[in-house]
Protein backbone atom coordinates (compact mmCIF):
# COMPACT_ATOMS: atom_id res chain seq x y z
CA UNK A 1 0.00 0.00 0.00
CA UNK A 2 2.85 2.31 0.71
CA UNK A 3 3.87 1.70 -2.86
CA UNK A 4 0.44 2.76 -3.96
CA UNK A 5 0.70 5.91 -1.88
CA UNK A 6 4.07 6.91 -3.20
CA UNK A 7 3.02 6.09 -6.76
CA UNK A 8 0.06 8.35 -6.30
CA UNK A 9 2.08 11.25 -5.00
CA UNK A 10 4.46 10.85 -7.92
CA UNK A 11 1.61 11.30 -10.32
CA UNK A 12 -0.17 14.21 -8.73
CA UNK A 13 2.45 16.41 -7.14
CA UNK A 14 5.44 17.27 -9.21
CA UNK A 15 7.83 19.35 -7.11
CA UNK A 16 9.61 22.19 -8.82
CA UNK A 17 13.21 21.13 -9.02
CA UNK A 18 15.63 23.50 -10.65
CA UNK A 19 18.04 21.98 -13.09
CA UNK A 20 21.50 23.39 -12.48
CA UNK A 21 23.51 22.14 -9.53
CA UNK A 22 24.46 25.50 -8.05
CA UNK A 23 20.99 26.80 -8.67
CA UNK A 24 19.47 23.76 -6.96
CA UNK A 25 21.59 24.12 -3.87
CA UNK A 26 20.97 27.86 -3.81
CA UNK A 27 17.22 27.31 -3.89
CA UNK A 28 17.39 24.84 -1.01
CA UNK A 29 19.30 27.27 1.16
CA UNK A 30 18.01 30.60 -0.10
CA UNK A 31 14.46 29.27 -0.09
CA UNK A 32 14.63 29.15 3.67
CA UNK A 33 14.79 32.92 3.84
CA UNK A 34 11.89 33.15 1.41
CA UNK A 35 9.79 30.78 3.48
CA UNK A 36 10.30 32.88 6.57
CA UNK A 37 9.12 35.98 4.80
CA UNK A 38 5.96 34.29 3.54
CA UNK A 39 5.07 31.77 6.20
CA UNK A 40 4.37 32.99 9.69
CA UNK A 41 4.28 29.43 11.04
CA UNK A 42 7.81 28.77 9.83
CA UNK A 43 8.96 32.07 11.31
CA UNK A 44 7.55 31.07 14.70
CA UNK A 45 9.34 27.74 14.37
CA UNK A 46 12.67 29.40 13.67
CA UNK A 47 12.24 31.85 16.56
CA UNK A 48 11.55 28.93 18.93
CA UNK A 49 14.68 27.15 17.71
CA UNK A 50 16.83 30.25 18.10
CA UNK A 51 15.59 30.55 21.67
CA UNK A 52 16.35 26.92 22.44
CA UNK A 53 19.76 27.11 20.77
CA UNK A 54 20.52 30.13 22.93
CA UNK A 55 19.42 28.17 26.00
CA UNK A 56 21.51 25.18 24.94
CA UNK A 57 24.68 27.21 24.46
CA UNK A 58 24.45 29.54 27.42
CA UNK A 59 22.32 27.30 29.65
CA UNK A 60 24.86 26.66 32.39
CA UNK A 61 25.56 30.39 32.62
CA UNK A 62 21.90 31.35 32.57
CA UNK A 63 20.65 28.82 35.09
CA UNK A 64 20.45 30.35 38.57
CA UNK A 65 21.47 27.11 40.34
CA UNK A 66 23.12 23.76 39.76
CA UNK A 67 20.29 21.53 38.45
CA UNK A 68 21.36 18.58 40.61
CA UNK A 69 22.09 20.52 43.78
CA UNK A 70 19.78 20.23 46.75
CA UNK A 71 18.72 23.71 47.88
CA UNK A 72 19.09 24.31 51.56
CA UNK A 73 18.34 27.05 53.99
CA UNK A 74 20.22 26.79 57.26
CA UNK A 75 20.58 23.05 56.80
CA UNK A 76 16.88 22.57 56.07
CA UNK A 77 16.14 21.09 52.64
CA UNK A 78 13.90 23.32 50.59
CA UNK A 79 11.77 20.52 49.16
CA UNK A 80 8.51 20.92 47.23
CA UNK A 81 8.70 24.70 47.26
CA UNK A 82 5.97 26.36 45.18
CA UNK A 83 7.14 29.03 42.74
CA UNK A 84 8.67 32.05 44.48
CA UNK A 85 11.08 34.89 43.70
CA UNK A 86 14.01 32.71 44.73
CA UNK A 87 12.81 29.66 42.78
CA UNK A 88 10.64 30.94 39.90
CA UNK A 89 9.35 27.44 39.10
CA UNK A 90 9.65 25.99 42.59
CA UNK A 91 11.73 23.00 43.68
CA UNK A 92 11.44 19.23 43.31
CA UNK A 93 10.66 16.77 46.07
CA UNK A 94 14.34 16.63 47.00
CA UNK A 95 14.82 20.38 46.72
CA UNK A 96 16.33 20.84 43.24
CA UNK A 97 15.64 24.06 41.38
CA UNK A 98 13.16 23.32 38.57
CA UNK A 99 13.98 26.37 36.43
CA UNK A 100 17.65 25.42 36.34
CA UNK A 101 16.75 21.88 35.30
CA UNK A 102 14.50 23.25 32.58
CA UNK A 103 17.25 25.45 31.15
CA UNK A 104 19.77 22.63 31.24
CA UNK A 105 17.29 20.39 29.41
CA UNK A 106 17.61 22.35 26.16
CA UNK A 107 21.09 21.04 25.40
CA UNK A 108 20.39 17.28 25.37
CA UNK A 109 17.14 17.91 23.48
CA UNK A 110 18.90 19.80 20.69
CA UNK A 111 21.86 17.42 20.63
CA UNK A 112 19.57 14.44 20.19
CA UNK A 113 17.32 16.23 17.72
CA UNK A 114 20.05 17.53 15.45
CA UNK A 115 22.26 14.46 15.43
CA UNK A 116 19.37 12.06 14.83
CA UNK A 117 18.01 14.32 12.09
CA UNK A 118 21.42 14.46 10.46
CA UNK A 119 21.72 10.67 10.51
CA UNK A 120 18.21 10.20 9.16
CA UNK A 121 18.67 12.72 6.37
CA UNK A 122 22.06 11.38 5.28
CA UNK A 123 21.24 7.66 5.42
CA UNK A 124 17.75 8.15 3.97
CA UNK A 125 19.06 10.28 1.11
CA UNK A 126 21.92 7.96 0.20
CA UNK A 127 19.71 4.85 0.28
CA UNK A 128 16.98 6.63 -1.68
CA UNK A 129 19.48 7.82 -4.30
CA UNK A 130 21.05 4.40 -4.77
CA UNK A 131 17.73 2.58 -4.77
CA UNK A 132 16.10 4.95 -7.24
CA UNK A 133 19.09 5.31 -9.55
CA UNK A 134 20.18 1.71 -9.92
CA UNK A 135 16.74 0.11 -9.69
CA UNK A 136 16.51 -3.64 -10.28
CA UNK A 137 17.80 -5.98 -7.63
CA UNK A 138 19.53 -3.29 -5.54
CA UNK A 139 16.25 -1.41 -5.38
CA UNK A 140 14.28 -4.53 -4.48
CA UNK A 141 16.64 -5.43 -1.62
CA UNK A 142 16.75 -1.92 -0.20
CA UNK A 143 12.98 -1.54 -0.38
CA UNK A 144 12.43 -4.91 1.37
CA UNK A 145 14.74 -3.51 4.06
CA UNK A 146 12.42 -0.54 4.49
CA UNK A 147 9.46 -2.96 4.68
CA UNK A 148 11.20 -4.62 7.62
CA UNK A 149 11.90 -1.20 9.14
CA UNK A 150 8.22 -0.33 8.97
CA UNK A 151 7.26 -3.61 10.62
CA UNK A 152 9.51 -3.13 13.64
CA UNK A 153 7.71 -1.36 16.49
CA UNK A 154 9.69 1.85 16.82
CA UNK A 155 9.61 2.78 20.50
CA UNK A 156 9.91 -0.82 21.80
CA UNK A 157 12.93 -1.30 19.52
CA UNK A 158 14.61 1.83 20.85
CA UNK A 159 13.93 0.76 24.44
CA UNK A 160 15.28 -2.77 23.98
CA UNK A 161 18.39 -1.58 22.15
CA UNK A 162 19.14 1.16 24.66
CA UNK A 163 18.61 -1.26 27.54
CA UNK A 164 21.23 -3.57 26.04
CA UNK A 165 23.72 -1.03 24.73
CA UNK A 166 23.58 1.03 27.90
CA UNK A 167 21.62 4.15 28.77
CA UNK A 168 23.37 6.96 26.95
CA UNK A 169 22.12 9.74 24.71
CA UNK A 170 24.20 8.48 21.77
CA UNK A 171 22.74 5.00 22.01
CA UNK A 172 19.27 6.53 21.84
CA UNK A 173 20.30 8.48 18.74
CA UNK A 174 21.78 5.34 17.19
CA UNK A 175 18.67 3.27 17.85
CA UNK A 176 16.48 5.95 16.28
CA UNK A 177 18.80 6.30 13.29
CA UNK A 178 18.58 2.58 12.56
CA UNK A 179 14.82 2.81 11.94
CA UNK A 180 13.89 6.38 11.07
CA UNK A 181 15.62 6.62 7.67
CA UNK A 182 13.01 4.36 6.04
CA UNK A 183 10.44 7.11 5.37
CA UNK A 184 13.03 9.46 3.92
CA UNK A 185 14.54 6.76 1.73
CA UNK A 186 11.17 5.92 0.19
CA UNK A 187 10.29 9.51 -0.60
CA UNK A 188 13.74 10.32 -1.99
CA UNK A 189 13.64 7.18 -4.09
CA UNK A 190 10.34 8.07 -5.73
CA UNK A 191 11.73 11.53 -6.46
CA UNK A 192 14.92 10.11 -7.95
CA UNK A 193 12.82 7.97 -10.27
CA UNK A 194 11.49 11.11 -11.94
CA UNK A 195 14.72 13.16 -11.84
CA UNK A 196 16.63 10.24 -13.35
CA UNK A 197 14.68 10.55 -16.60
CA UNK A 198 15.38 14.27 -17.05
CA UNK A 199 17.39 15.41 -20.07
CA UNK A 200 20.33 16.82 -18.10
CA UNK A 201 20.89 13.53 -16.30
CA UNK A 202 20.74 11.61 -19.56
CA UNK A 203 23.16 14.13 -21.04
CA UNK A 204 25.60 13.66 -18.16
CA UNK A 205 25.49 9.89 -18.62
CA UNK A 206 26.00 10.08 -22.37
CA UNK A 207 28.97 12.40 -21.95
CA UNK A 208 30.63 9.71 -19.88
CA UNK A 209 29.96 10.65 -16.26
CA UNK A 210 30.26 7.63 -13.98
CA UNK A 211 27.23 6.37 -12.06
CA UNK A 212 28.41 7.83 -8.77
CA UNK A 213 29.27 11.15 -10.37
CA UNK A 214 25.81 11.30 -11.91
CA UNK A 215 24.15 10.43 -8.61
CA UNK A 216 25.99 12.84 -6.37
CA UNK A 217 26.71 15.74 -8.72
CA UNK A 218 23.63 15.79 -10.93
CA UNK A 219 20.76 14.06 -9.14
CA UNK A 220 21.51 14.71 -5.48
CA UNK A 221 21.39 18.54 -5.64
CA UNK A 222 17.88 18.30 -7.05
CA UNK A 223 16.49 16.30 -4.15
CA UNK A 224 18.41 18.16 -1.47
CA UNK A 225 15.45 20.24 -0.33
CA UNK A 226 13.43 17.07 0.18
CA UNK A 227 16.22 15.76 2.45
CA UNK A 228 16.09 19.03 4.37
CA UNK A 229 12.34 18.64 4.80
CA UNK A 230 12.62 15.15 6.24
CA UNK A 231 15.58 16.21 8.35
CA UNK A 232 13.56 19.02 9.93
CA UNK A 233 10.65 16.69 10.68
CA UNK A 234 13.06 14.15 12.17
CA UNK A 235 14.33 16.73 14.69
CA UNK A 236 10.89 16.79 16.29
CA UNK A 237 10.48 13.01 16.27
CA UNK A 238 13.91 12.53 17.79
CA UNK A 239 13.27 14.98 20.63
CA UNK A 240 9.92 13.32 21.31
CA UNK A 241 11.47 9.86 21.29
CA UNK A 242 14.32 10.80 23.60
CA UNK A 243 11.77 12.27 26.01
CA UNK A 244 9.67 9.10 25.86
CA UNK A 245 12.66 6.85 26.44
CA UNK A 246 13.77 8.98 29.40
CA UNK A 247 10.24 9.02 30.76
CA UNK A 248 10.15 5.21 30.69
CA UNK A 249 13.33 5.20 32.75
CA UNK A 250 15.84 4.18 30.08
CA UNK A 251 17.41 7.60 29.67
CA UNK A 252 20.93 8.74 30.34
CA UNK A 253 21.16 9.00 34.16
CA UNK A 254 23.87 11.66 33.94
CA UNK A 255 21.77 14.03 31.86
CA UNK A 256 18.97 16.29 33.04
CA UNK A 257 16.62 16.19 30.06
CA UNK A 258 13.00 17.30 29.87
CA UNK A 259 11.91 13.66 29.64
CA UNK A 260 13.88 12.88 32.78
CA UNK A 261 12.21 15.80 34.60
CA UNK A 262 8.78 14.46 33.70
CA UNK A 263 9.72 10.97 34.83
CA UNK A 264 11.10 12.38 38.06
CA UNK A 265 7.86 14.26 38.66
CA UNK A 266 5.75 11.22 37.77
CA UNK A 267 7.48 8.79 40.10
CA UNK A 268 7.68 11.38 42.89
CA UNK A 269 3.88 11.70 43.13
CA UNK A 270 3.90 15.26 41.77
CA UNK A 271 0.57 14.51 40.08
CA UNK A 272 -1.21 13.56 43.27
CA UNK A 273 0.15 16.68 44.98
CA UNK A 274 -1.00 18.86 42.09
CA UNK A 275 2.52 20.22 41.60
CA UNK A 276 1.71 21.55 38.12
CA UNK A 277 4.65 23.97 38.36
CA UNK A 278 6.93 20.95 38.22
CA UNK A 279 5.67 18.91 35.26
CA UNK A 280 3.93 21.48 33.04
CA UNK A 281 7.05 23.52 32.02
CA UNK A 282 9.17 20.61 30.69
CA UNK A 283 6.13 19.22 28.86
CA UNK A 284 5.55 22.55 27.18
CA UNK A 285 9.23 22.82 26.22
CA UNK A 286 9.09 19.42 24.49
CA UNK A 287 5.88 20.45 22.73
CA UNK A 288 7.39 23.70 21.51
CA UNK A 289 10.54 22.03 20.24
CA UNK A 290 8.60 19.38 18.34
CA UNK A 291 6.08 21.89 17.02
CA UNK A 292 8.85 24.18 15.78
CA UNK A 293 10.14 21.27 13.67
CA UNK A 294 6.68 20.70 12.19
CA UNK A 295 6.21 24.40 11.47
CA UNK A 296 9.51 24.71 9.63
CA UNK A 297 8.78 21.46 7.82
CA UNK A 298 5.44 22.87 6.68
CA UNK A 299 7.20 25.89 5.23
CA UNK A 300 9.55 23.62 3.31
CA UNK A 301 6.68 21.59 2.00
CA UNK A 302 5.13 24.70 0.54
CA UNK A 303 8.42 25.60 -1.10
CA UNK A 304 8.60 22.13 -2.63
CA UNK A 305 4.97 21.72 -3.54
CA UNK A 306 3.69 25.20 -4.50
CA UNK A 307 0.22 23.82 -5.18
CA UNK A 308 -0.21 23.51 -1.45
CA UNK A 309 0.25 27.20 -0.96
CA UNK A 310 -3.15 28.25 -2.20
CA UNK A 311 -4.74 25.98 0.34
Amino acid sequence: MLDAASARSELTIEPVVPVGRRQAIATSLGGTVGILRRDRFALVGVVIYILFIFMAIFGPALAPHDPQMVMEDDGIWLTNQPPSAQFPLGTTNVGRDILSQLIHGARPALMVGLSAAFMVAVVGTVVGLISGYFGGRTDAILMRLTDIGFGIPFLPFVIVLVAFLGPSIWNIVLAMGILLWCDTARIIRSQVLTVRERAFVQAAKISGASDWRTIFLYIAPNILSLSFLYGTLAIGWAILTEASVSFLGFGDPAVVSWGFMLQDAYVSQALARGAYYWFVPPGICIMLAVMAGFFIGRGYEELLFPRLRER
Binding site: A4, I148, L155, L262, G283, F294
Partner: protein, 331 residues
Protein backbone atom coordinates in the same frame (compact mmCIF):
# COMPACT_ATOMS: atom_id res chain seq x y z
CA UNK B 1 -4.98 -16.54 -11.37
CA UNK B 2 -7.01 -13.38 -10.83
CA UNK B 3 -4.81 -10.36 -10.07
CA UNK B 4 -6.27 -10.01 -6.62
CA UNK B 5 -5.23 -13.53 -5.64
CA UNK B 6 -1.72 -12.92 -6.96
CA UNK B 7 -1.54 -9.71 -4.98
CA UNK B 8 -2.78 -11.48 -1.86
CA UNK B 9 -0.13 -14.18 -2.13
CA UNK B 10 2.67 -11.71 -2.86
CA UNK B 11 1.63 -9.60 0.10
CA UNK B 12 1.38 -12.68 2.33
CA UNK B 13 4.89 -13.70 1.34
CA UNK B 14 6.13 -10.22 2.13
CA UNK B 15 4.50 -10.35 5.57
CA UNK B 16 6.17 -13.67 6.39
CA UNK B 17 9.51 -12.31 5.18
CA UNK B 18 9.20 -9.26 7.42
CA UNK B 19 8.25 -11.35 10.47
CA UNK B 20 11.16 -13.70 9.82
CA UNK B 21 13.52 -10.73 9.59
CA UNK B 22 12.23 -9.28 12.85
CA UNK B 23 12.59 -12.63 14.59
CA UNK B 24 16.17 -12.85 13.33
CA UNK B 25 17.00 -9.34 14.50
CA UNK B 26 15.61 -10.22 17.93
CA UNK B 27 17.68 -13.41 17.99
CA UNK B 28 20.80 -11.41 17.25
CA UNK B 29 20.04 -8.65 19.78
CA UNK B 30 19.40 -11.11 22.60
CA UNK B 31 22.46 -13.22 21.72
CA UNK B 32 24.85 -10.32 21.22
CA UNK B 33 24.26 -9.20 24.75
CA UNK B 34 27.40 -8.99 26.81
CA UNK B 35 27.96 -12.13 28.83
CA UNK B 36 26.85 -15.70 28.52
CA UNK B 37 23.90 -16.27 26.14
CA UNK B 38 22.51 -18.62 28.76
CA UNK B 39 21.89 -15.50 30.82
CA UNK B 40 19.12 -14.57 28.42
CA UNK B 41 17.06 -17.63 29.24
CA UNK B 42 18.13 -19.06 32.54
CA UNK B 43 17.79 -17.02 35.67
CA UNK B 44 20.11 -17.81 38.57
CA UNK B 45 17.09 -18.54 40.73
CA UNK B 46 15.96 -21.45 38.54
CA UNK B 47 16.42 -24.93 39.94
CA UNK B 48 18.93 -27.20 38.20
CA UNK B 49 16.14 -29.23 36.58
CA UNK B 50 14.37 -26.12 35.31
CA UNK B 51 17.62 -24.80 33.90
CA UNK B 52 18.36 -28.06 32.17
CA UNK B 53 14.87 -28.34 30.71
CA UNK B 54 15.10 -24.85 29.24
CA UNK B 55 18.62 -25.41 28.03
CA UNK B 56 17.42 -28.47 26.10
CA UNK B 57 14.31 -26.75 24.80
CA UNK B 58 16.26 -23.85 23.34
CA UNK B 59 19.38 -25.84 22.48
CA UNK B 60 21.53 -23.49 24.51
CA UNK B 61 24.33 -26.06 24.65
CA UNK B 62 24.31 -26.42 20.84
CA UNK B 63 26.19 -24.33 18.25
CA UNK B 64 24.59 -21.04 17.19
CA UNK B 65 23.03 -22.19 13.85
CA UNK B 66 21.27 -25.06 15.64
CA UNK B 67 20.08 -22.63 18.30
CA UNK B 68 18.76 -20.38 15.56
CA UNK B 69 16.81 -23.23 13.96
CA UNK B 70 15.32 -24.23 17.30
CA UNK B 71 14.54 -20.60 18.02
CA UNK B 72 12.55 -20.22 14.80
CA UNK B 73 10.72 -23.48 15.47
CA UNK B 74 9.88 -22.33 18.98
CA UNK B 75 8.56 -19.00 17.75
CA UNK B 76 6.35 -20.64 15.13
CA UNK B 77 4.89 -22.91 17.79
CA UNK B 78 4.46 -19.99 20.19
CA UNK B 79 7.04 -21.20 22.68
CA UNK B 80 8.79 -18.14 24.09
CA UNK B 81 10.23 -19.73 27.20
CA UNK B 82 9.55 -19.08 30.85
CA UNK B 83 9.40 -15.70 32.52
CA UNK B 84 12.20 -15.15 35.05
CA UNK B 85 10.03 -13.46 37.59
CA UNK B 86 6.59 -14.93 37.20
CA UNK B 87 7.96 -18.45 36.52
CA UNK B 88 5.19 -19.03 34.02
CA UNK B 89 5.21 -19.61 30.26
CA UNK B 90 5.72 -16.30 28.48
CA UNK B 91 2.92 -16.95 26.01
CA UNK B 92 0.38 -17.34 28.80
CA UNK B 93 1.38 -14.04 30.40
CA UNK B 94 1.19 -12.28 27.05
CA UNK B 95 -2.17 -13.73 26.07
CA UNK B 96 -3.60 -12.70 29.42
CA UNK B 97 -2.84 -8.99 28.86
CA UNK B 98 -3.35 -9.05 25.10
CA UNK B 99 -7.12 -8.28 25.20
CA UNK B 100 -6.45 -5.18 27.32
CA UNK B 101 -4.12 -3.77 24.68
CA UNK B 102 -6.51 -4.60 21.85
CA UNK B 103 -9.47 -2.99 23.65
CA UNK B 104 -7.54 0.17 24.49
CA UNK B 105 -6.02 0.51 21.01
CA UNK B 106 -9.15 -0.43 19.10
CA UNK B 107 -11.41 1.95 20.98
CA UNK B 108 -8.98 4.90 20.86
CA UNK B 109 -8.14 4.33 17.22
CA UNK B 110 -11.81 4.22 16.24
CA UNK B 111 -12.61 7.35 18.23
CA UNK B 112 -9.57 9.17 16.82
CA UNK B 113 -10.33 8.31 13.20
CA UNK B 114 -14.04 9.10 13.42
CA UNK B 115 -13.25 12.45 15.03
CA UNK B 116 -10.33 13.17 12.69
CA UNK B 117 -12.32 12.45 9.53
CA UNK B 118 -15.28 14.57 10.59
CA UNK B 119 -13.20 17.46 11.90
CA UNK B 120 -10.91 17.37 8.85
CA UNK B 121 -13.90 17.57 6.50
CA UNK B 122 -15.38 20.46 8.42
CA UNK B 123 -12.06 22.35 8.28
CA UNK B 124 -11.82 21.81 4.52
CA UNK B 125 -15.39 22.97 4.09
CA UNK B 126 -14.71 26.15 6.03
CA UNK B 127 -11.46 26.83 4.24
CA UNK B 128 -9.84 30.19 4.85
CA UNK B 129 -11.89 30.89 7.96
CA UNK B 130 -10.80 31.48 11.52
CA UNK B 131 -12.02 28.01 12.47
CA UNK B 132 -9.63 26.45 9.96
CA UNK B 133 -6.61 28.31 11.31
CA UNK B 134 -7.45 27.38 14.88
CA UNK B 135 -8.11 23.79 13.87
CA UNK B 136 -4.74 23.37 12.18
CA UNK B 137 -2.86 24.85 15.11
CA UNK B 138 -4.82 22.53 17.43
CA UNK B 139 -3.95 19.49 15.31
CA UNK B 140 -0.24 20.39 15.16
CA UNK B 141 -0.18 21.03 18.90
CA UNK B 142 -1.70 17.66 19.74
CA UNK B 143 0.71 15.97 17.33
CA UNK B 144 3.65 17.59 19.13
CA UNK B 145 2.49 16.90 22.69
CA UNK B 146 4.23 13.88 24.22
CA UNK B 147 1.60 11.33 25.20
CA UNK B 148 2.99 10.92 28.66
CA UNK B 149 2.65 14.65 29.17
CA UNK B 150 -0.99 14.66 28.02
CA UNK B 151 -1.56 11.59 30.19
CA UNK B 152 0.03 13.25 33.22
CA UNK B 153 -2.12 16.36 32.76
CA UNK B 154 -5.23 14.19 32.46
CA UNK B 155 -4.26 12.21 35.56
CA UNK B 156 -3.43 15.25 37.66
CA UNK B 157 -6.59 17.10 36.69
CA UNK B 158 -9.38 14.56 36.15
CA UNK B 159 -8.16 11.89 38.50
CA UNK B 160 -6.35 13.56 41.40
CA UNK B 161 -7.89 17.05 41.34
CA UNK B 162 -11.47 16.26 40.47
CA UNK B 163 -11.52 12.61 41.42
CA UNK B 164 -13.74 11.70 38.46
CA UNK B 165 -11.71 8.74 37.22
CA UNK B 166 -9.49 6.09 38.79
CA UNK B 167 -5.76 6.73 38.37
CA UNK B 168 -4.65 3.27 37.34
CA UNK B 169 -5.55 -0.26 36.31
CA UNK B 170 -8.18 -1.83 34.13
CA UNK B 171 -10.77 -2.63 36.79
CA UNK B 172 -11.47 -1.98 40.45
CA UNK B 173 -9.71 -4.47 42.73
CA UNK B 174 -11.50 -7.79 42.93
CA UNK B 175 -13.55 -7.34 39.76
CA UNK B 176 -13.85 -10.46 37.65
CA UNK B 177 -15.73 -10.47 34.37
CA UNK B 178 -17.43 -13.59 33.05
CA UNK B 179 -17.21 -12.48 29.45
CA UNK B 180 -15.90 -9.73 27.22
CA UNK B 181 -19.48 -8.60 26.73
CA UNK B 182 -19.92 -8.17 30.46
CA UNK B 183 -16.68 -6.23 30.62
CA UNK B 184 -17.68 -3.94 27.77
CA UNK B 185 -21.04 -3.19 29.35
CA UNK B 186 -19.68 -2.49 32.81
CA UNK B 187 -19.46 1.14 33.91
CA UNK B 188 -16.35 0.37 35.96
CA UNK B 189 -14.45 -0.72 32.85
CA UNK B 190 -15.33 2.47 30.97
CA UNK B 191 -14.33 4.64 33.93
CA UNK B 192 -10.91 2.97 33.91
CA UNK B 193 -10.64 3.15 30.15
CA UNK B 194 -11.67 6.82 29.78
CA UNK B 195 -8.39 8.60 30.52
CA UNK B 196 -5.95 6.25 28.76
CA UNK B 197 -8.22 6.06 25.72
CA UNK B 198 -8.64 9.84 25.67
CA UNK B 199 -4.86 10.34 25.87
CA UNK B 200 -4.19 7.87 23.08
CA UNK B 201 -6.99 9.28 20.93
CA UNK B 202 -5.71 12.86 21.31
CA UNK B 203 -2.35 11.64 20.08
CA UNK B 204 -3.83 9.72 17.15
CA UNK B 205 -6.46 12.10 15.76
CA UNK B 206 -4.01 14.64 14.29
CA UNK B 207 -2.94 12.49 11.35
CA UNK B 208 -6.43 11.61 9.98
CA UNK B 209 -7.58 15.19 10.64
CA UNK B 210 -4.82 16.87 8.63
CA UNK B 211 -4.94 14.21 5.95
CA UNK B 212 -8.71 14.35 5.53
CA UNK B 213 -8.56 18.11 5.25
CA UNK B 214 -5.98 18.13 2.47
CA UNK B 215 -7.71 15.23 0.65
CA UNK B 216 -11.00 17.08 0.77
CA UNK B 217 -9.41 20.23 -0.61
CA UNK B 218 -7.89 18.22 -3.42
CA UNK B 219 -11.15 16.45 -4.24
CA UNK B 220 -13.18 19.66 -4.09
CA UNK B 221 -11.21 20.94 -7.09
CA UNK B 222 -12.16 17.95 -9.22
CA UNK B 223 -14.62 18.06 -12.05
CA UNK B 224 -17.11 15.60 -10.63
CA UNK B 225 -17.62 17.82 -7.60
CA UNK B 226 -18.17 20.86 -9.81
CA UNK B 227 -20.59 18.76 -11.83
CA UNK B 228 -22.48 17.73 -8.72
CA UNK B 229 -22.70 21.37 -7.67
CA UNK B 230 -23.97 22.38 -11.08
CA UNK B 231 -26.79 19.87 -10.93
CA UNK B 232 -28.08 21.96 -8.03
CA UNK B 233 -27.51 19.47 -5.23
CA UNK B 234 -27.52 21.05 -1.77
CA UNK B 235 -24.01 21.80 -0.47
CA UNK B 236 -24.12 19.23 2.33
CA UNK B 237 -24.96 16.48 -0.13
CA UNK B 238 -22.10 17.46 -2.39
CA UNK B 239 -19.77 17.39 0.60
CA UNK B 240 -21.04 14.15 2.02
CA UNK B 241 -21.82 11.86 -0.86
CA UNK B 242 -19.39 13.19 -3.46
CA UNK B 243 -16.38 14.85 -1.86
CA UNK B 244 -16.02 13.04 1.47
CA UNK B 245 -16.57 9.60 -0.03
CA UNK B 246 -13.68 10.02 -2.41
CA UNK B 247 -11.41 11.75 0.05
CA UNK B 248 -11.81 8.86 2.46
CA UNK B 249 -9.76 6.33 0.53
CA UNK B 250 -6.25 7.53 1.45
CA UNK B 251 -7.36 7.55 5.08
CA UNK B 252 -7.29 3.77 4.95
CA UNK B 253 -3.63 4.05 3.97
CA UNK B 254 -3.05 6.34 6.90
CA UNK B 255 -4.69 3.76 9.14
CA UNK B 256 -1.68 1.48 8.75
CA UNK B 257 0.56 4.30 9.95
CA UNK B 258 -1.96 4.98 12.71
CA UNK B 259 -1.75 1.39 13.89
CA UNK B 260 2.00 1.61 14.12
CA UNK B 261 1.83 4.84 16.10
CA UNK B 262 -0.91 3.43 18.30
CA UNK B 263 1.03 0.32 19.25
CA UNK B 264 4.19 2.33 19.87
CA UNK B 265 2.11 4.84 21.80
CA UNK B 266 0.60 2.10 23.91
CA UNK B 267 3.93 1.49 25.55
CA UNK B 268 3.76 4.99 27.02
CA UNK B 269 0.06 5.29 27.75
CA UNK B 270 -0.08 1.88 29.41
CA UNK B 271 2.85 2.83 31.61
CA UNK B 272 1.40 6.20 32.64
CA UNK B 273 -1.98 4.71 33.55
CA UNK B 274 -0.65 1.36 34.82
CA UNK B 275 -2.84 -0.34 32.21
CA UNK B 276 -1.90 -4.04 32.19
CA UNK B 277 -1.21 -4.49 28.47
CA UNK B 278 1.55 -5.67 26.12
CA UNK B 279 3.42 -2.37 26.16
CA UNK B 280 3.61 -2.18 29.92
CA UNK B 281 4.66 -5.83 30.14
CA UNK B 282 7.47 -5.07 27.68
CA UNK B 283 8.70 -2.02 29.60
CA UNK B 284 8.68 -3.84 32.92
CA UNK B 285 10.31 -6.94 31.46
CA UNK B 286 13.14 -4.87 29.99
CA UNK B 287 13.52 -2.94 33.25
CA UNK B 288 13.78 -6.11 35.30
CA UNK B 289 15.96 -7.98 32.75
CA UNK B 290 13.26 -10.60 32.24
CA UNK B 291 14.62 -11.44 28.76
CA UNK B 292 12.27 -14.21 27.64
CA UNK B 293 9.26 -12.08 28.50
CA UNK B 294 10.75 -8.98 26.82
CA UNK B 295 11.53 -10.95 23.67
CA UNK B 296 8.06 -12.48 23.54
CA UNK B 297 6.29 -9.16 24.14
CA UNK B 298 8.37 -7.45 21.47
CA UNK B 299 7.65 -10.15 18.94
CA UNK B 300 3.92 -10.19 19.67
CA UNK B 301 3.73 -6.39 19.26
CA UNK B 302 5.52 -6.74 15.91
CA UNK B 303 3.09 -9.50 14.87
CA UNK B 304 0.16 -7.21 15.68
CA UNK B 305 1.60 -4.33 13.65
CA UNK B 306 2.61 -6.43 10.65
CA UNK B 307 -0.63 -8.43 10.71
CA UNK B 308 -2.86 -5.36 10.90
CA UNK B 309 -0.88 -3.67 8.13
CA UNK B 310 -1.43 -6.74 6.00
CA UNK B 311 -5.17 -6.68 6.68
CA UNK B 312 -5.38 -2.95 5.88
CA UNK B 313 -3.53 -3.53 2.60
CA UNK B 314 -5.94 -6.27 1.59
CA UNK B 315 -8.97 -4.14 2.46
CA UNK B 316 -7.44 -1.29 0.48
CA UNK B 317 -6.93 -3.47 -2.58
CA UNK B 318 -10.59 -4.48 -2.42
CA UNK B 319 -11.71 -0.84 -2.15
CA UNK B 320 -9.37 0.31 -4.89
CA UNK B 321 -8.75 -2.49 -7.43
CA UNK B 322 -6.08 -0.39 -9.16
CA UNK B 323 -3.65 -1.35 -6.40
CA UNK B 324 -3.56 -5.07 -7.15
CA UNK B 325 -3.57 -4.65 -10.91
CA UNK B 326 -0.96 -1.89 -10.87
CA UNK B 327 1.33 -4.04 -8.81
CA UNK B 328 1.01 -6.78 -11.37
CA UNK B 329 2.01 -4.56 -14.24
CA UNK B 330 5.07 -3.38 -12.37
CA UNK B 331 6.01 -6.92 -11.51
Amino acid sequence: MPPRAVYFIRRLGQMILVLWAIATILFLIFRLMPGNPLVAFIDPTFTAEQAEAISRQFGLDQPLPVQYGLYLKNIVTGNFGTSFFQKEPVLGILLEVFPNTILLTGISLTAAYVFGVIAGSVLAWRRGGKLEGAGIVFALMTRSAPEFFVGMLALAFFSFNLGWFPSSGVASPGTIYDSVFQQLTSADFWRHLALPALTLAIYLQGLPLLLMRSNMLEVLDEDFVTMARMTGLPEWRVMLSHAARNALLPIVTALTLGIGYAIGGNVIVETVFSWPGLGRVLVRAVQSHDYPLAQGAFFLIAVVIVGLNFMADIIYSVLDPRVSTARQEVA
